[in-house]
């Protein structure tokens, strides 16, 4: 599934602040934007309320943090160069409480203890990490030294007396009570770690974000290897933070790099492959992001972000999004494996300060109390319900937790396997599932290899009492892929275009597409601004017009934006004027339908570009400004009502534009086409033309009548004495100039009618083809279609082979192909009187050399008639086509010569061998023959019929059961 994305719910730009750090207080009311010149406090509930506290320093503020305890919410700490400053924010002023100086180089990070209101940890590249008690600011209460400089310091959010620091690619976990000796040392990444965060729910879990473009999830008690890794391809990760709800992460990219990739991604810990959501809109990298709730009882969280584009944005995380991170999914987890528990269970939202270890213990206790059998059933049900069914090329055909079975199909290239998994009762506690292939197209050696991989994978997991279905399936497809890779690389003659295995194509594109599926990124910068009005000619003579309501006007400059992305800019500019939290730009673009209420609330999107013109000021002379300004308060006051009451969608109108066309439906209905009674036909048609007011056509038809009579006369016996009528100036030249004229005015109706009227059937009576005597005309294979040859017979010594040539074409029935065995008359006798031929040609009103063009006219007109629903008239015109389109054929037969192995269409190959050889009498077949479509063997009809009177198998002994395979041919 594609990644969802959204844009912010709120946007504000504070260009003058030049803030480098941002923090949100624990109550969620104030955001602190700290820059070199000033500290600015933005009231997030009323963002107009910005209070600036001037600051005189030549140093940037590297980081800020608010006290996480609600009782001391107004206290915050800032780090600038080597020192920390503690402020109290009260009554609109920031009172400087104390400064903390001990570091000898720039402080890189600060963190308040979540358990002690007075304790702050700080770290610096000077290799020291300090703990401070803000009541005793003179010197740190504890110091921890390492060899390498420290970049991040973060307290454990669940257990007291534990914090972590990062040093380049390493991670250290400390207990302040144990002095200058880390509890653990983890070599976490190969490059510098930029971001660190502890899990809000599990005491042992933390996450690191690194320059090496990956995010790793750690259980520090078991730090041999990370528990999970999210790879962001080639984008270094700046921050990775747990979500306060469910099991999610938000990642941001490194500010130093201008890559155009400024989105934050929301990940569910259950899926490390693809983010579940993207937050798009920042024009530059996001410097920091924090969580907030508008009020404690509100369900929705908000993500507050500050970017180097100097804009503050607030993104709403509604319950649907939270659900994506596993929040509110009430799955009772009875899995005994604690690791699984921590990764898969969803938990209720908790206050950050409250430990939830007790909750886990409770869960564990209950799970042990339950009956062992139901517990295992439950755990299997859980596993089945939680399995990610989006593994590429793997489809889960069936799962049954009661019978403890699972049926899976995996496809790679043209290989496919169906795997049966049976889960023993002890699974997953030490007992691995049983794997069995029920249907495979693999070699036995491949099968063996895959089974081994599966066994290894499953054992590895169940030995640690972990479930293994998903890892097994992933390994199944990856080993299948690697085994068939070689095969797929070599061109396959049977599959001319590798699209038969679309699944394989998808698999290839799957990985590369992972990050491209987020909308609104750089690939989407050139999407044209969509049409909001248009007119299309449809069918025959209709004009469909759609557009905006007349009173909906373009609200900005005179020129319509070029790209859709230009409108984002427009929207942002306008939102600045309207301080009320406004609509996220194109929230409707997001994947999952937003709840209906939200739709009502945010009538946004492209229509935002257009605003309603105030009725009172219709005078156009007013400047744009005046037009716009009164509009905004109105939108503010009753955003919902104004847009609801006025539709932003205009009507779609269907116009009858047939009068604009040079052709007339009425004429099409009335026109007669009867070459046997031309005078009557012409007068009737002239009447019809006068009825629709086409005076020129009235004239034309009487003229045509006159011309036609003459053509009949010209068939006199004295053909060689005078030149035919058609060649005189009132004959063919006149007709051609008439056709030219009507072509020019695109009156295809008249052109086609004239072509039909003056058409002479003789033109096609004798196809000028040099064909040897009485040959069967197998029309040559249609070259524009891919042809799959199917070589059905191969035993060369046992008779002749028929090669049915199956065309990849939809179409008619079998019988068509037999119709095409056309026997042509013998070649027109040698020494044909050229003169006579020329005369016949000349006596035609329409130049036979242009017959193809005239056919085109007729076909074009017939198509129009068809569109009008006049199918009889259409068919009548089509009768006058000189070269009827041959019915498409599904199946042609090629014969492989029994003597020289050449393929031929005729009974004789080019070497004059008789190509067909009877399998019974072993002589060449000239007359009637029958053959088996399956094995390609056969022979003289009589011989074959005799044979199959008693036998059912092929006379050649090839083992083919011809009779059952061709009941239509041999059965009677």
């Amino acid at each position: 599934m594609a990644v969802q994305w959204s844009t912010e719910q709120f946007f504000a730009e504070y260009k003058d602040l030049q803030a480098s750090a941002m923090g949100v207080d624990c109550v969620g009311q104030w955001a602190l934007l700290a820059g070199r010149k000033a500290l600015a406090l933005v009231n997030l509930n009323n963002t107009d309320n910005v209070i600036k506290v001037a600051r005189k320093s030549k140093w940037e503020i590297s980081c800020v943090q608010w006290n996480p305890h609600a009782s001391h919410a107004p206290i915050f700490v800032t780090a600038s160069n080597q020192r920390l400053d503690v402020y109290t924010w009260r009554d609109g002023t920031a009172e400087h409480k104390c400064n903390l100086k001990a570091h000898s180089r720039t402080v890189s990070d600060v963190d308040w203890s979540p358990f002690d209101v007075n304790i702050v940890a700080s770290c610096s590249v000077d290799t020291f990490s300090y703990l401070w008690d803000i009541r005793e600011p003179k010197k740190p209460i504890a110091s921890f030294q390492t060899v390498a400089g420290a970049y991040q310091v973060k307290w454990n959010k669940v257990t007291n007396n534990q914090f972590a620091t990062t040093h380049e690619g390493d991670l250290r976990i400390w207990d302040p009570r144990k002095g200058n000796m880390p509890l653990t040392y983890i070599a976490a990444h190969l490059s510098k770690i930029h971001g660190l965060d502890w899990s809000p729910s599990s005491q042992d879990h933390l996450v690191t974000a690194s320059q090496d473009c990956s995010v790793r999830i750690w259980n520090w008690k078991n730090h041999q290897r990370s528990e999970g890794m999210i790879s962001l391809k080639d984008v270094p990760v700046w921050r990775a933070r747990y979500t306060p709800f469910g099991e999610g992460l938000v990642t941001g990219v490194v500010p130093q790099l201008r890559r155009g990739e400024n989105s934050l991604y929301l990940w569910s810990l259950e899926n490390h492959n693809q983010p579940v959501h993207a937050f798009m809109g920042h024009k530059d990298v996001v410097l920091d992001f924090q969580w907030r709730k508008q009020s404690p009882d509100e369900v929705d969280y908000q993500l507050v972000t500050w970017s180097r584009d100097q804009s503050l944005r607030i993104w709403r995380i509604d319950s649907a999004l939270q659900k994506l991170c596993g929040h509110h999914v009430a799955v009772a987890d009875n899995d005994t494996s604690t690791q699984q528990t921590s990764l898969l269970t969803s938990r209720l939202p908790e206050d950050l300060s409250k430990s939830n270890t007790s909750l886990i213990e409770e869960q564990m206790a209950t799970s042990f109390n339950t009956n062992m059998g139901t517990q295992q059933l439950q755990s299997l049900i859980n596993e089945f319900s939680l399995i990610n069914s989006n593994i590429p090329n793997v489809t889960i055909e069936g799962m049954d937790a009661v019978y403890r079975k699972c049926l899976v199909k995996a496809v790679s290239g043209k290989r496919s396997v169906i795997l049966n998994l049976t889960f023993p009762a002890g699974y997953p506690n030490g007992e691995a599932p049983v794997f069995q292939f029920s249907e495979t197209s693999l070699d036995p050696s491949m099968e063996k290899k895959i089974l081994k991989v599966l066994k290894d994978t499953s054992l590895k997991h169940v030995q640690r009492n972990m479930v293994c279905l998903e890892p097994c399936l992933r390994n199944l497809i990856s080993s299948l892929d690697s085994l068939t890779l070689e095969e797929r690389r070599t061109p396959d003659s049977e599959v001319p275009f590798d699209l038969t295995s679309t699944t394989a194509v998808q698999a290839k594109s799957f990985n590369s597409k992972r990050f491209r599926t987020s909308y609104g990124n750089f690939q989407d910068s050139n999407i044209p601004f969509p049409r909001t009005s248009g007119a299309s000619f449809c069918s025959a003579g209709y004009l469909v017009v759609y557009g905006r309501p007349a009173d909906l006007k373009k609200s900005s400059a005179d020129v319509t934006p070029k790209a859709l992305s230009d409108m984002v800019v427009y929207n942002q500019v306008h939102r600045m004027k309207a301080p009320q939290p406004q609509t996220p730009y194109v929230a409707m673009f997001s994947c999952s339908p937003p709840p209906a209420t939200q739709m009502m609330e945010y009538p946004c999107t492209i229509s935002n570009f257009y605003t309603y013109k105030e009725k009172r000021q219709r005078t156009r002379s007013r400047s744009k400004h005046i037009k716009d300004v009164p509009d905004i308060p109105r939108r503010e006051s009753n955003n919902v009502k104004s847009t609801k009451s006025k539709p932003k969608v205009g009507f779609v109108r269907v116009y009858d534009a047939s009068n604009l066309l040079p052709i007339h439906r009425q004429l099409a209905e009335k026109y007669i086409l009867d070459v046997n009674d031309v005078s009557n036909m012409c007068s009737a048609n002239a009447n019809a033309a006068s009825a629709v007011g086409r005076k020129d056509l009235v004239q034309l038809w009487s003229l045509a009548a006159a011309m036609y009579v003459k053509t009949n006369d010209s068939h006199s016996r004295e053909m060689f004495l005078e030149s035919p009528w058609a060649l005189c100036s009132l004959g063919r030249p006149l007709l051609e100039s008439l056709l030219d004229h009507y072509c020019k005015i695109q009156d295809i109706q008249t052109v086609a009618m004239l072509c039909c009227m003056f058409w002479t059937r003789e033109t096609i009576a004798k196809p000028k083809r040099s064909i040897s005597k009485t040959s069967m005309d197998y029309s040559p294979a249609n070259t524009d279609v891919g042809i799959n040859y199917m070589y059905l017979g191969s035993s060369a010594d046992s008779g002749w082979n028929i090669l049915p040539m199956v065309k990849g074409r939809r179409s008619n029935s079998w019988s068509d192909s037999y119709d095409d065995f056309r026997i042509f008359e013998e070649e027109i006798e040698q020494g044909v009187d050229q003169e006579q031929l020329q005369y016949e040609k000349d006596s035609k009103m329409l130049n036979p050399d242009k017959a193809g063009l005239y056919d085109q006219y007729k076909i074009a007109y017939a198509n129009i008639l068809y569109k009008w629903g006049l199918i009889n008239q259409s068919a009548l015109i089509m009768k006058f086509i000189s070269f009827p389109v041959q019915p498409e054929r599904n199946c042609d037969f090629l014969i492989k010569c029994s003597s020289c192995n050449q393929t031929t269409e005729t009974p004789q190959c080019t070497n004059n061998h008789i190509a067909l050889k009877c399998s019974i009498c072993r002589t060449g077949v000239r007359g009637a023959s029958n053959f088996c479509l399956a094995c390609g063997h056969g022979g003289h009809t009589k011989h074959i019929l005799d044979w199959f009177e008693k036998e059912t198998e092929c006379p050649t002994g090839c083992g083919c059961n011809c009779l059952s395979k061709n009941p239509m041919i041999f059965g009677w």
Binding site: S533, S539, P593, N659, G852, Y861
Partner: protein
């Protein structure tokens, strides 16, 4: 001269981006920013909603009806990078096929002339053009013209299926060549030709000074002449003509409009061109016998403002 036959209130919740009648003019399909496609029965002036097709995850930009020999089939494309082919079977509309192999918004879809089979061209902002073909057994093949327009393809249109200089004999008539014209953000109009199953660039038409927004190959009435209309962000409409014998295309600027021109559409006989753009207006153009293009009408689409008296327009 042009009279309103039907006024349809689509009840879309957001901007309508395309509206198309089917082959017979009995069904109207509309698509919108509200992510839905609606199909109406518009026979005899009625407007009955037949189906509300949801499946796109973003605004739907364009629609195309297939020839009725393939059944009631509709293709749609949108911002969500998807192309969806819908089909009606026994009165119910359902998704027949979904193609999501584009990396950006798909801006244009067009079915090929029916002579070529069920074939769909899709132009995307990722710069590529996809050609999807139904193999007839429910699966679809796709071919891609990569980097057709460097920063995005905005429109595609098929050439009519006309046999090149129609020959005289059934036997050696050459197969009809498939051609596509496309327009993109590189300000170019390109003509593509299929040769041995591969699509190759046949012609590059330079004339616009900004993004090409729409291209339309005029229907053929049999003459070997080819006509293409293109419109652009540069507010101009250009008519390109080729005499069918050489490779040269001559261009003629129809007019410079006051606003972006979004859409050009040919009438069935190719004698009238409808032009519409950002100013919410439609104009109809006709080539005079002297070869000049003249505006024959100016329909102000003040939707909902056209009163009974204004129902006929010229």
């Amino acid at each position: 001269m042009v009279s309103v036959l039907n006024t349809i209130d689509t009840a879309h919740e957001d901007m309508v981006h395309d509206a198309q009648l089917d082959y017979y003019g009995t069904k109207l399909a509309t698509c919108s920013s509200d992510r839905s496609i609606k199909v109406f029965d518009v026979r005899n002036g009625q407007q009955t909603l037949i189906s509300d097709l949801t499946g796109h995850e973003g605004p739907v930009w364009q629609l195309a009806w297939a020839h009725p020999m393939f059944g009631s089939t509709l293709a749609s494309c949108g911002y969500d990078r998807k192309v969806i082919i819908w089909k009606e079977t026994n009165g119910t509309w359902a998704k027949l096929y979904e193609y999501s192999n584009h990396d950006s918004s798909v801006n244009s879809v067009a079915f090929a002339p029916h002579e070529f089979g069920l074939l769909l061209a899709c132009g995307s902002s990722d710069g590529t053009i996809s050609i999807l073909s139904s193999t007839g057994d429910g699966t679809w093949d796709s071919k891609k013209i990569n980097n057709a327009h460097s920063i995005g393809c905005n429109a595609v249109s098929w050439a009519p299926a006309v046999t090149p200089n129609a020959l005289f004999d059934t036997g050696n008539r050459p197969p009809t060549v498939k051609r596509i014209v496309s327009g993109g953000c590189d300000n170019l109009v390109k003509i593509w030709r299929e040769e041995d199953g591969q699509w190759i660039e046949e012609q590059k038409l330079e004339g616009h000074s900004d993004w090409v927004r729409d291209v339309a190959w005029a229907p053929s009435i049999g003459l070997p002449k080819s006509i293409i209309a293109t419109c652009s962000q540069d507010c101009r409409v250009i008519i390109w003509t080729n005499d069918g014998t050489s490779n040269t295309w001559s261009s003629k600027v129809l007019q410079k409009f006051n606003d972006v021109v979004w859409h050009v559409s040919w009438s069935i006989t190719g004698n009238i061109l409808a032009v519409s753009g950002g100013d919410n207006k439609v104009s109809l153009w006709k080539e005079s016998t002297e070869g000049q293009w003249v505006c024959i009408s100016d329909v102000n689409k003040g939707q909902g403002q056209i009163s009974e008296g204004q129902r006929t327009l010229q």
